[in-house]
Amino acid sequence: MTEAPVSGAASDAEPRVVLSARGLRRDFAGFVAVKDVDLDVRHAKIHALIGPNGAGKTTVFNLLTKFLAPSAGRIEFMGRDITSTPPARVARLGLVRSFQISAIFPHLSVLDNVRVALQRPGGLGYQFWRSRGSLDLLTPRAEQLLETVGLQNERNRMAGDLSYGRKRVLEIATTLALDPKVLLLDEPMAGMGHEDVETVATSSAMWRRIAQSSWSSTISRSLPISVTGSRCFSVAKSSPPAITRP
C-alpha cells in the first residue's frame, strides 16, 4: 500500500495526520486478507482507497473502525492508540464509517433513522422511563440533515421502502448526524441505478459540504475516480503490495 498525491507534488505545508495505521495485518485462518498497510489520513482532506475486487478495501475499513481486530499493527486516531478499543467507543471518538451494503434501520421511519443517530450525543440512549415525545427536540436537527441530502419530503416513509440510492443517501445523513471527525465511506456510490443519477450528480456538491463540515473523509471505491486535490491510497491484490498510481 502506498500513498500517491493525485495532482502534482504534495504541498510543503502538510496538514496534520488525524488517523494513522502502521503495519496493519489481518489473517483469516491462514489467509492473509490485509498485509502491512501503512496509511495516514490528514486533516480536512478527502482521501480515496482504491483497488480491485478482493484487494481488502472493506477489510481495511473494518480494521480501522475496529469491527475486526487486527492480527498485527497499530492504529492511532488523533494521537490516541485505538488498536484495542471496542468499535462503539471508536465511533464515539469521532471515527465513523458507512457500510458497503446500505446500513439503515428498515422498519423505522426515515426521520427516526436520523434521530437514532442524534440520540446518543444528547444523552437520550438509556432513558427507558421517558416518553418518545422527549425525542421531539431532536427533530429540527434531523430535518436539517435530511434536507442536506435531499430527503426532506420522505421523512415519514418507512426507510425500508426507499430506493437503493436513497437508502445510501439516508445512511450518509445518519452518519453526518454524529458530527464525525473522520468519515469512512465504503463504496458510497456502488450499485446506484439510473433513478439515482440525479442524487449522484448533486452528491459531488454534497461531498464538498461534508468535507467542509468534518475533519476528513476517506472513501473506498472499486473504481478510481479522481477527486481534485485529494489523496489516493491503493490496495493491491498481490503481495508484497504493489504501487499503483491512479
Partner: protein, 324 residues
Amino acid sequence: MAELTSTGIDRQTRARTEWLLVGLGIAALIAAPFFLYPVFLMKMLCFALFAAAFNLLLGYTGLLSFGHAAFFGGAAYFTAHAVKEWGWTPEFGVLLGVFGAAVLGLIIGFFAIRRQGIYFAMITLALAQMFYFFCVQAPFTKGEDGIQGVPRGHLFGFIDLSVPLNMYFFVLGGFLIGVFAVWRIVHSPFGMILKSIRENENRAISLGYSVARYKLAAFVMSATLAGLAGAMKALVFQFATLTDVTWQMSGEVILMTLLGGIGTMLGPIVGAGLVVTLQNYLATSEFPVTVITGAIFMICVLLFRRGIVGEILARFSRGESDAR
C-alpha cells in the same frame, strides 16, 4: 403540507381509538371475575404478563431467549419460600421474587449476550437448565414435591387475599403495572435504540452504541417482568413446583408470543389467553392438549406468520393505505 396535516389528524384519531380500546379492555378485565372463574382468569393474566415480558426481548430487541422459565419459575420459588417459611406479607414476597428474577436475569444475560442468534438461544437454554437442576437439588425447593400450601396472606396487612376477588384485583394490578412497564420501555428513547439494534446491530455499533449494554439492560428488564408474573402465579395457585422452571415452560412462552404476534403490544396477551383457554378446556377431555396447541401453532406458522394480532394489524393498515 396538506398531506402532512391529514396524517397528523389520522394519527390523532388512531391514538384516540387506541386509548378507547385500552379503556374497554381494562373495563372488561374489571368486570370479568363476576362472570368467569377467577383462578382461570388469574392464570391467564400471569401468563399474559409472562408473554408480554418475553416479547420485550424477542419482539423489540430481536433476542430469542430459550430460558425464560428460569425467571418465571425462579421468582415463583423465591416468593413461595419467603411467604411460607419466613412469613413475609404477599407484597414483599412478590418483590423478593421480582428482585430474584432480576438477579438471575443479570447472571444469565451477562453470559448469553456475548453470542448471537442460535448460540444466544442455546446459552440461555443451557443456563436455564442449570438452574432447573439447582431447583431439583436445593433443599428449599423441596425437590419433586415443590413448595406446597403457600398462604396468600394479607396484602399490606389488612386485605385478605384468600378472598378470590381480592386476589384477582391484586393480580390485575400487577398485570397492568407490568404491561404498562413494557409499553413504557418500548415507547421510550431507550426502546428506539433496542429497535435499531434489532433492525441492524452493526449499524447501531457504528453509531456509537455499546449494544451489549443495551441488550443486557433489555434482558434484565424482561427477566424482571417475567419474575413478576411468576411470583404472582405462585400466590394464585399457592404452590411453586418444578413445572415452572422446565424448558417446556420456556417453549410455551415462545409459542404464546409467536401465536399472538411478536413485536405487537397486544399479541402476546392474546396468544397467552388462547393457549391458557385451550389448556383449560382440553384438560378435562381425553384429547392431549399439546397436540392441539401444536396443530394450531403449525397452522399459524403456515397461514399467518405475523401471528393473530400481527396479521390483523397488517390487514388493517393495508386497507387504510388502499383507501387513501
